[in-house]
Every structure is written in structure tokens, then in C-alpha cells.
Symmetry: D2
Subunit: 233 residues, 4 copies
């Protein structure tokens, strides 16, 4: 998310391709304090404009429990990988009534992940969605190693839905399509895919983003796979 | 592979379900020298009987270049994970004219794996098949972490076929079906699945084996997935 | 930290053995919300009593930026492994004037760790101490794999002091002595060692704690090593 | 090992600095078949000349059980990391009467390592030496992560000696000194350090090698540490 024009244009594109939610990063957890940190409150406002323009519900990441007031019009609140075991944040989110998208930590076990969901649910908010985004291993071909076995693993010990983020997991736009198909085949309930209208000039995460045209192609394939699995997008 | 009756019965069962190859372990690379090491030459003879009884081509693992003479009637020679960088064995196999099934090492990179295939091919044998069988990570839910991104990764840098072994990768029989579907969706050219007529009493790897009935179910699902991908089993 | 008697007794013991700081856990980041979470504000009060009784400066972990008011009499504030990339917490701590003990994340790189220190320092607080506490690997003999190469690595790219926590790293009390010696030999500026007067009945982390007697022995050895390195404890 | 002059010069240098053994690579297990593979039998001959010139016993790696005849004048036979679970090679070495230096596999557990030593010992050769050379993790600062906890771990479950190879473990010459000190402090019985008279122009592993002058300095430090530990070099 960089400018109003850009975010609304992308939002309309992905809606046309069949996206059901719009995720944008207003607060961005960057490794370095000197990297682009997101547009913060201005970013949230842009995201809300895209919501108004398209009617798509919006998802965005929270990094500080004290920011919760700013998230009133956000539909789903994301907890990023680096905060999966920020237990104070999880407990605070357990006291709000919005769905929480809980990304897996960089190197967290399935069991720790389920326990983090418990931190939210034990405070009263049972609306938690797991998001597999790859784990940290010795392999460097992809940015992370996408662990699709996490899907049946989670399904065997939890009733909560599981989605997959192939963009962050692989860091390679051409891997998004095969890994999206595989995620659906393994039982995923949804996908989160990074799209940018001009990946080469993106301020952040450009290298892994699809163009709207590429996203449209992937969505076509994914839709056929989901139907084959008896699911409706 | 334990007795003649057992192996032939399983071979006939899996053939009926649509298996195209029969893999059995005659020489077994066990972590401990005190664990069951396989039936060696006797095991090879049993496997050949199963081949005669069913007409299925057979696949089995070699651990010592000096054993190559015993593999005359074997159709595909497997190099196990622990020998993926046993370069002397690879070079020897590069001088024979049988297809080599090259399993990925416990913690080897895609690049190292491709280089190990080069050790075989640079000696003249270009008939190499990659087999992804999970990598070693911190996660303990499954025995290994199945890395399905290896399939498109390999396809992007090599022309060689890639198959997947969900049984060894996950160590959990109930994970074989979802991971088999996901492997096909990610572009795998084949699957290697462990079957035992009596998993609970198996001398080795029983915990991860399917019964012939379970295998038949998985094959039904996999066949539909392969057809959906435009492939024929 | 469980009761006033217990904490003061242990504090006096470790002071006698030469400890220069006293660390106690008031807020404890536990994987499960149903595990003992620490005594919170009551725990802080106990720790302050031990400080008054012994004169030892105290170190304790913060998990929520909103708790900072409670840490007025704490001498060094610890950021735990799970919060190493809780950037909002780091920035808040960058605006206070106390030394920050920054533990390495479960599976964070040296570079990410240095960047997290930058989050604190870029807000004005340059008093950061690194604490190596083992990283997550496939190996299960110890709880984590103590990465002593992190000490010279950090020294080569940062001027900040580095200490080592062999208790959390190994999870094995009998490993504390050899790993403490090795840490000093590798250039560590200090050690953080878990001590409990009754490890077998501890509410938390008992299995890895030394008794005060064992701690006294380890301190004797460490002192000789530090002197050999030309350092004074 | 590249030329006769070079190897003898380095051998004399390291002997003067106090080295007790000379290791040289005649057969080199390289990831790529197109990389320098060592001088093979010519390399063994050079190594023997260095042995004659200096009187130092020699250590070199075997990769193929069929090469054993060539190793008659080698004093200690090394099994490299990639062959730690080449069980056929281990069994063959168990039937010879030379000490075996067993390097840890890239990502093998302590338990698997001890079991590989059992493969050698169960055939009759009880003269096995473990060599820790770093394990494969997500961290990329060093080439591998040196696991010094392996030393007390092995000592707790085996009577066999343990040495450490800081050169291969870290891949950084300036890390050899602190990691050598730490290894001795953790209880190591010896060190294996890479030395090259002209690291910048080495055909292989130059980047991690010390010059003979640097080695002399490290040996001085290590000697003081060993004496402090009550050991004699």
C-alpha cells in the first residue's frame, strides 16, 4: 500500500478476479528500523477507502495492543509471524470481537501455534484463523520452506480454519500458482496472495508480488481446484 | 519385505489398486547396527519372485557399489537419503544403464541434490529420477518436513522427473492421502507409498505404512487428481 | 520466583558465590496460557525485597510496553526470545533510560538480532546487552543449540556486550559448567545462570536449574576462567 | 594439498608450531562433480612424503571401501560428514585396525553419530574419534553452526575422544582462535585446523584456511588453554 490510487486500482482488480478479502499492510514489521515501516494511520485510511470503493472486507496487521482503537473498521486483524508468541498482544485480541488471522511464527511448532490460538480463545474470542507462511530451515531456494503438512496436522487437533500464504512462504512469484494448488489439495480453507500493480517498483515485498494479470490467472486455476475439492470460492 | 507370501500378496494387492512399480527394501540403511538390516540377497530374491508373480517392475536400494552385480534383474536402483552425497556410489551408478531413483538427503539443498544427479549423469547415465522425502527441521509433528516447493524448484532448473514419498516424509499413515494430493497438484510425476499387510507387526517402518485397503483408497483419490492435472497413471 | 523466603534465600546464596545481578521472572512468557504465568506485580515486589536484602541489582522480563511503570526499581529490563522482534516493545524500551538485556529469538539470525538492538538504540537508549540463549535446530539432545560463534560474530559487527544463558540453551544442569567455561573462552562478557533452592519441586524451569551449591562450584570455575582471560568478575 | 613443495613446507611449519598430526585431502568429496576433486593417489603420495619429511603421522579421508589398500601408510582414516551414514563404508573400516576419525554429518543428531561409531566398533575396530564440524541450521553468518554442546553430550554417553574442526565449522579464519579456545574449554581432546601457505590462491577451502603464521599464533593460545585445563599438547 503506497498511494490511494494504487490501492484502489489493485483492490478493484483483485475483486474482479474473485478475491473475497483485501489485505494491506499499514503497520509493517520490518527487520530493520531504517526500512519502510508502512503508512500507519494513513495506511489504514487508504485501506478503508479501498473497502468503500469495492465493498471488500479488509485484513491488516496489528503490532501494538494500544493501536486497537484504530482498527474499528477493520474486518479481520492479522497477527504477524514475529508476534505469534507476543502473548500480551494475543490476550488483548482475545478480548475484542473480530476474527484474528494468526500467522505461524518463523520457527514455531504446530503445538506452539495452537497454544497461541488458545491465548486468544481463552480470553473469549474463538474466531481464530491459522495462516501457514513457511518456516525457517537451512534451505535457501525459497525464502522459507512452505510446510503444507501443517494443514492436515492442524485439522487433526483443532477445528479452526487454515489458510496459506504462498507469497511470503516462497518469495518467488512463479511459485505462487503450484503452491496454491497444492495448498488447496492439502485441505486449505483459503489463500492469501500478494499483488502489486508494479512489483518492480514496490517499496516493500515487490519481488514476491504478482501483477493483477498474474493473480487473475492463478485465481482461475485455484477456482477449478477448489471446485474439484467440492469447495466454493 | 519379510516373507515370500507376504511380499507377493502385497504386490498383487497394490497392482490391483494401480501401482506401476513395486519397491521393497532388501538392504536397509538403519541408524543402528543392531536394528533389522533387511534380508539382503534373500530379500532381492523375494522381490524378484514378486516381480515374476505380478509383472511389476521393481525398485530397491543399493548401499554398496560392490553389490551392483546382484541388481541385474532390478529395474530401478534407489539411492537412499543417507547416500545422496556418497559420490563414489553415484559415480559407479553413472556407469550402469538402469534408471536411478535419487532420494533427497536428510538436510540437503536443492542445489546439492541437482549436483548429486550430475555425479551420475556426468558418468553417462542420464536416467535419474528425484524423490523428495522430507527434510530435517525443528518441527517434530511429522518425522520430516515434506518440502513440496522442491517440485517446482527442481522443474525450474532440471528436466528430470520428480516423485514424492509421503510415507517416509510424514511418518503418519493418515497424512499420506492429503500429501499425495498436494504433491500431484504441485507437479509431481509420481508417488512412492509404503504398504504393509500388517503394519502393526511390521519389522520396520510399520508405523508409517498403509494397509492394502487404505492404499486402494488413496490410489482412487490420486488417480482423480492426476486426471484433473491431465496426467495418466 | 515463588515465595519471599525462597527468593531471598537464593539471592543471598548466589551473592555469596559472587553473582553480580539477580534475575527473577515476574512475568513469564509461557507457550500455553494454562501454564504458570509468573506472579506478576507480586513477583516484582518479591524481587525488590531480594534487592533490598542483598543489595544486588535486579533483572526481569517485560512483556507489555504498558507495564513499564511497574519497572521503576528494576535495574535491567529483559526482552525475552519470543519478543525479540516485537518492534513496538523495542521502540518503547528505546525511550526509557535503563539497560536492556535483549535475548536472541528462537530462530533469529545474528543480523536480525543486531537490527532489533537498532530498534532500541535508534530511539535513544544505547544501553543494550545481547544474550545468546541457544537457537532452534533439528538436534534434540539439548533444548536448544547453544551458538557460541554468535559471540565473536557479534563482536565483529557491534560494540555491545554479549552474555550467555547456558541454562535455557541446554536445559541440562550438568551442561552449565562446560558451556559456561566455553562461553567465557569464546569472549562472553557475562553469564546468566538459573538457580533454584529445590529444582525438583520448582513451578517452572526446575529441570534446568542448579542448586545454590552447584552454582557455587560453577562460579569458582568460571572465576578462574575469567581471570585467565584477564577479566574480573 | 596441491604440490610437493607446498605440502612439505606447510607440514614443517605446522610441526614447528606444535601440530601432532598432519591432515591432507587426497580424495575430496565436493558437492559438484565439476569442482577440483583432489589429487587421489598422487595426493596420497605427497602426503606420505610430508610424513617422511616431518615424522608427523598423517590423516586423510576415505570415500570408497575399495580404496582401502591405498591407505596402508595412512595413520588415521577420516570419514567425512557426507559419509557419516554410509554404513557399508563404516562396516568395512570396522574390519581394519587403524583409528577412524568420524566427522559428524551435516545434520545428524548426537545419537545417530554414536550409532555410526557403533557400526565401526561392532565389526571389531574400537578406535574411533569423533570430530564435531558444525551442523546445518538456518543461520548463515558462519558456514555451519559449531555445536560445542556436542562435546559434553558425547562425553556423557561415550568413552570415545572428541575433537573439533573450527575451520570447516565456521568457514571464517578469524573465528578459528575464539572457537578453538571455546572447544578446549568445553572439553575437546583435540583440534583440526586448516592451514594453507597461500589461502587466497588455494584450489579449495582457501577462504577458511589460516596462514602458517596465524596458525602459530592460534597454537600458542590453545597451548595455554590446554595447560590451564591440565592437558598436554
Amino acid at each position: 500500500m503506497e498511494t490511494e490510487e494504487q490501492i484502489i486500482e489493485v483492490a478493484e482488480d483483485v475483486k474482479r478476479s474473485g478475491a473475497k478479502f483485501l489485505r494491506g499492510g499499514a503497520f509493517k514489521p520490518r527487520t530493520s528500523p531504517y526500512a519502510f515501516q508502512g503508512l500507519h494511520n494513513e495506511g489504514l485510511k487508504l485501506l478503508l477507502k479501498a473497502k468503500q470503493a469495492t465493498g471488500l472486507p479488509i485484513v491488516t496487521e496489528i503490532m501494538n495492543p494500544n493501536h486497537l482503537d484504530m482498527f474499528n473498521d477493520v474486518d479481520i486483524i492479522q497477527v504477524g509471524a514475529r508476534n505469534m508468541q507476543n502473548f500480551e498482544l494475543l490476550k488483548e485480541l482475545g478480548r475484542c470481537n473480530k476474527p484474528i488471522l494468526l500467522k505461524r511464527g518463523l520457527a514455531n511448532t504446530i503445538e506452539e501455534w495452537v497454544m497461541s490460538a488458545e491465548y486468544i480463545m481463552s480470553e473469549g474470542n474463538e474466531n481464530v484463523i491459522f495462516c501457514e507462511r513457511g518456516i525457517r530451515t537451512y534451505e535457501t531456494f525459497c525464502r522459507n520452506t512452505l510446510d503444507l503438512s501443517a494443514i492436515p496436522a492442524l485439522k487433526s487437533i483443532s477445528h479452526l480454519p487454515v489458510i496459506v500464504d504462498p507469497s511470503h512462504a516462497t518469495g518467488l512469484p512463479w511459485m505462487v500458482e503450484p503452491m496454491s494448488k497444492a495448498a488447496i489439495a492439502a485441505g486449505a480453507d483459503g489463500l492469501m496472495i500478494e499483488v502489486h500493480n508494479d512489483p518492480k517498483n514496490a517499496l516493500c515485498d515487490g519481488a514476491q508480488s504478482l501483477t493483477p494479470e498474474q493473480f487473475d490467472n492463478v485465481m482461475g486455476t485455484v477456482r477449478r481446484y477448489a471446485e474439484f475439492e467440492g469447495k466454493v470460492i
